[in-house]
Amino acid sequence: MTAPPSAAGAASSVSAASPDSSRSSPGSALAELVDITKTFGALVANDAISLSVLPGEVHALLGENGAGKSTLTRILYGLSQPDSGEIRVDGRVKRISSPADAMEAGIGMVTQEFSLVDTMTVTENLMLAGVGLGRINRAAARAKVLAAAERIGVSIDPDAIVEDLSVGQRQRVEIVKALFHDCRVLILDEPTAVLVPQDVEQLFDSIGRLTSAGMGVIFISHKLHEVTRIADRISILRRGRIVASRPAAGLEPRDIAALMVGAESVAAPVASAENETLADALATSIGLDPADLDGPSVSVGGSALPSAAIRDRSRATRATSPISEATALQITDVTLGNDGSRVLDAVTLSVRRGEILGIAGVSGNGQTELVNVLCGTLTADRGSVMVDQTEISGLDPAARIRAGFGRLTEDRKGSVIPGLSVGQNLVLEDLDRFRIGPFLNRGAVREHVQKLIERFDIRAQPGDPIRSLSGGNMQKVLLARAISRGPKALVASQPTRGLDIGACEYVYSQLRALRDEGAGVLLISEDLDELLGICDRIAVIFSGRIIGELPAADATPEALGLLMTGHDTGAADDSDAAVNA
């Protein structure tokens, strides 16, 4: 361990964001992460993060994808090693280099993917977890299962075969399995993502029983209303740092949304406000907060109006030429999934030429599926997609590319052939252009590739295997491939995730250039700064539905944050007010 940080230093990194931090009694914490830093190449996944779990506490961890939540929990559970920082259990420094160490220290984790053997019974599965040398005592294990089930207040049939169980039941078995190791800190990684509402209730009941027995729970979720219900303390991660950590009591989903999207300076006075209700405080600060907006602002009837300062700042980056009326990409009534569970629900969007339309939303609200439907790797149940004047919804991916549709998906590595070279990947989608009879025109390919490498500043040789490229360089290859073809419409999903600042800027400049050339860009992102920075309009997706749309010049992180948590009525008011003004 390098340079063990002073306790004061660790505390200050949190207290900067939360003056009321309750880390005054670090000795009583069940488990503590102190100054954890973890980098992957140029990307800082965890930047001096400190976090503690107290007995009887549910500590919720929130943040966008890639904010560093899973890296942090993986470190606590021994699946990953920090570059610096330490883990303390019961106040003593503990080295956790494997899940076995974590279990021994009383830390358990339940991930979204269950690790149960489907063909075995519940008891057998749990016996596997503790199997060693010597005889197996089935009766004792069975009794232990029943006792553990009792402890979390559920009924589990110890003799049921796992594959016959529902997802909710399997999760209970996983929790029981974690409890087998005398676990005192339980990490639940998005436990409700896979559950139906009734099972969520049951899970919350179980969590309540465990914490009242003195256990600590780390709870990761994207669903803000759940977090406000169950958590005692909420920490919000953003770009590898904890931007806020505060008691959950009194926090509303909208407050958390504001914190998540980076409006911490807006929300700061909220927490210190004593008698005023938090929602009101936020509503006020949305309209009028000189500290944040740094300029004169107007508030009409309490509804959100953007400040002139924000408008001016953003305008500089927006379309200089007027947006054309012609649509580049028209998505109409795209629906996926049956009536019970719609993944996409009548999504209708229209991107005009010379415009960047952003889609904001908390991850998992249908963004990935929408991109896959647009790319043709997933078939929608209903709806139409038009690029320029061409209907593409029935076409295969190759025909969509020919129709002028460009793609930058969130899965960069899934968009290239890792074993082929940079050059081969660059021409893979345009092979018909480099053909002499049945043969590949190698000279033309070489020339084209060299030109793209120079134009897009790709730091690699044409013959290098693409898997050896950094994330930013690989994104440049994908940008080059998509943009050099002169697409009429481009969808870019999380195009800057995991990239360093320089690479992000590069991606933005390319998207802007494409927009200025008259293409329509659909930008899907979880980063509101990004969306506010380069979009002309921003739509918000929630539960597979587009629940609101704002001109970017009128959008504020707060207004978008509200929409992202599903408050569509409020949003309508906001945009109306904006239009009327």
Partner: protein, 372 residues
């Protein structure tokens, strides 16, 4: 000391790995050869050198290699596009059966018609045998490994059933077919040798495969489809269609292999026609790195060892199985070293960060790859 993933491999690494593998094989197999009562050096000379020093030996090597080139190429083409055809054995047998049909029922055709007809029949026979698994894979997503493998014994039973039933030898009554008409003989390449024109067909197919894979857009698409099917699909490459076509072509080539063997060597259908060539083809394709040139080289090497093993069993009283031991050891050594060449061993010079040694291997490797 740490083992790290290489960011880039230099050109000489692959040949060097094969060379080291050969040395390891020689060291490992010296023991068994000594136990069998022979001098290892003399034995290696018999296995690898003697067959290539005489014209007759050379001809025998080419003869032994010919079916392996066909099956190896068939497997390589299918594997390349991500279709795991384990059924070259069955397709080879089906090709031999199909080539037998005109040979028995149209015996009087002149060679100029008979040979194209019989070889074409072999192609169709192999493709038909590959059709069922390929169809099931495309339309019902049934794993081709299982279906192609299970059809192999079915093909063998078909051969045996035909030979014990309608095609039983009319003169001897043995379960071998009658000899084909005179036109159904692939001529020898050189007077006196047994190597036949089947080899020329095989070499032609090797050349075509090499050209397609290396110089055409189709080759690039096939490689993409095989390496990363999801990404290939995303890039507009019709992966399922390519796999379907390559499955049929693969079966067809294995079928020509079967036809070439009955037309060039046996001139009749026998139950022992295959000798496991279809399965050995998987070894040939894998060792040859799924490339046309690699398949050709490995097939020639295994052919040499097979002829050498015959030679050694007579001259040194070594059991012929020793040849299989040598080639199997070579296979394992080459496969391990080819995998290992992707890594490099790093000896640390700096001190002071001991905690990195044990735990950080994986991430360091990634970082090395990343910052190329």
């Amino acid at each position: 000391m740490r083992i790290m993933l290489r960011a880039r491999e230099s050109r000489w690494l692959a040949p060097a790995a094969v060379l080291v593998a050969v040395v390891i094989t020689l060291l490992l197999t010296a023991g068994p050869i000594r136990l069998a009562g022979a001098n290892p050096v003399a034995a290696y000379q018999r296995y690898l050198v003697t067959p290539l020093t005489t014209v007759n030996g050379l001809s025998e090597v080419l003869l032994a290699s010919t079916p392996l080139i066909f099956t190896g190429l068939a497997v390589a083409i299918a594997f390349r596009v991500g279709y795991f055809n384990i059924g070259a054995e069955g397709q080879y047998l089906a090709g031999a059966v199909a080539a037998t049909i005109p040979g028995l029922y149209l015996p009087s055709l002149p060679a100029v018609l008979a040979l194209p007809l019989a070889i074409g029949a072999g192609l169709v026979g192999g493709a038909v045998w590959a059709f069922i698994p390929a169809w099931l894979k495309r339309h019902a997503r049934i794993d081709e490994v299982v279906t192609t493998l299970l059809l192999n014994p079915v093909a063998l039973l078909l051969v045996q059933g035909l030979l014990n039933g309608p095609w039983r030898n009319s003169e001897s009554g043995f379960p071998d077919s009658d000899a084909y008409g005179a036109g159904y003989t692939l001529p020898a390449i050189a007077e006196g040798g047994r190597a036949h024109w089947g080899l020329i067909i095989a070499l032609l197919l090797v050349a075509i495969t090499w050209i397609v894979m290396s110089f055409t857009p189709l080759g690039l698409k096939l490689r993409a489809a095989g390496q990363a099917p999801a990404a290939a699909k995303f890039s507009g490459i019709p992966v399922a269609r390519l796999q379907w076509r390559c499955a049929l072509i693969s079966g067809g080539i294995a079928g020509i292999g079967g036809a070439s063997q009955v037309l060039g060597v046996q001139h009749q259908l026998t139950a022992g026609i295959s000798n496991g060539y279809g399965y050995t083809g998987i070894v040939v394709a894998t060792l040859g790195a799924l490339t046309a040139g690699g398949v050709l080289l490995v097939a020639l090497l295994l052919g040499t060892i097979a002829v050498g093993a015959q030679n050694a069993s007579i001259a040194l009283q070594l059991p012929t199985q020793m040849g299989a031991i040598v080639s199997s050891t070579l296979l394992l050594a080459v496969v391990s070293l080819v995998a290992l060449r992707r890594y490099r061993v790093v000896f640390r010079r700096r001190r002071g960060t001991p905690e990195h040694d044990g735990q950080a291997t994986a991430t360091d490797a990634q970082a090395t790859v990343g910052d190329r």
